[in-house]
Subunit: 227 residues, 2 copies
Amino acid sequence: MPEKKEYPKPAVTVDIVIFSIIDKKLKVLLVRRGLEPFKNMWALPGGFVKMEESLEEAAKRELHEETGAQDIYLEQLYTFGQPDRDPRDRVITVTYMALTNSDKIKLHADTDVSEVKWFSIDEIPKLAFDHPKILEYALKRLRWKFEYTSVAFSMLSEKFTMSDIQSIYEIVFHKKFDKRNFNKKIRSLNILNKESIKKDVSYRPPKLYSLKKNIPEVIEIIKLSNS
Amino acid sequence: MPEKKEYPKPAVTVDIVIFSIIDKKLKVLLVRRGLEPFKNMWALPGGFVKMEESLEEAAKRELHEETGAQDIYLEQLYTFGQPDRDPRDRVITVTYMALTNSDKIKLHADTDVSEVKWFSIDEIPKLAFDHPKILEYALKRLRWKFEYTSVAFSMLSEKFTMSDIQSIYEIVFHKKFDKRNFNKKIRSLNILNKESIKKDVSYRPPKLYSLKKNIPEVIEIIKLSNS
């Protein structure tokens, strides 16, 4: 028999930062809280972990319940546990990040939230709890992943043009890149397949690409840290 | 008043993976459990988070209580929360990783553990809970950090020779590197200062180096992922 011993029990939540590129802007999905504390304030979607579900299952369930989003790849970010981060109780939160093509999400506010909406990261309202810190952490991770992995391509359609790629890098880094150098760098990585394009148009159509399979987990797409 | 609402409460622990290079081997610090469950089995040092301490404070306290280790830089790794990972109860664990020069640690087993010892990662005993999975995750992160950050240098003395660096890379990756190419690669990064060396010895002393300040957070030290 396991020995009985007393130990303290905090509550545990999951909170999810979902990014998407919409109307040429980097946006994050927020919910308006329907319950205290911070009732009516905007917050990241999330909620308490149930005893019988894993952390990732909890994140997927909360995301679906609060926003309607489904079938989204989630990546664990960081666990925040300052003793005073929630006025109700000791609440530790395990945070997740997701990138999505916003077409995949049919928004509908549901349990515990009164509204759900995409916000440009330049126009984030005052957020509940320590959610500003969580969002800042997620943004840092997102930019890091854009530099060092091919994750950016998951925000594009399966076939894309070189200017589609350049565009999302410019949006995420808030910065213009020289077209020729950018194209040259991306091509040098040898991670793209050329796709056939329809020839029956009168103008010259842009070249289409798709991402190769089995590219390395870490690959320096573009170097910005030193610039 | 915050609205009262019932929510489930799991227990939360921290577990710590500390790596060091000892006798030319990569080692991890383990404790022998003094209590059930898994009494007498080896495990990562760790324990329950107290209500008034942050997660990092909990990790530092447990590390000190169980092993005597103090003043060690910790980095959060990942939070593991499968519902069945602890036979006692629903226990979610927030894991941390540390790298240290083993000279800094004076080992002494204390609360809840009967023994504390460095194990070579080639000779890890059967571990309690899901600790094999946590250790595997930590090893992956360690190797990744050796490839893409200057963290390896924190395991060396302040002044070191080029063969000291090569040696810890060979130990961590279980692989021999060509001396000339390795030196050339490290030198090309421009992250080292040359240190003066004593000339009053009859043999030719090896060149000494130290790590420059303010080098980028992410820097490709050596490329292994594709090889």
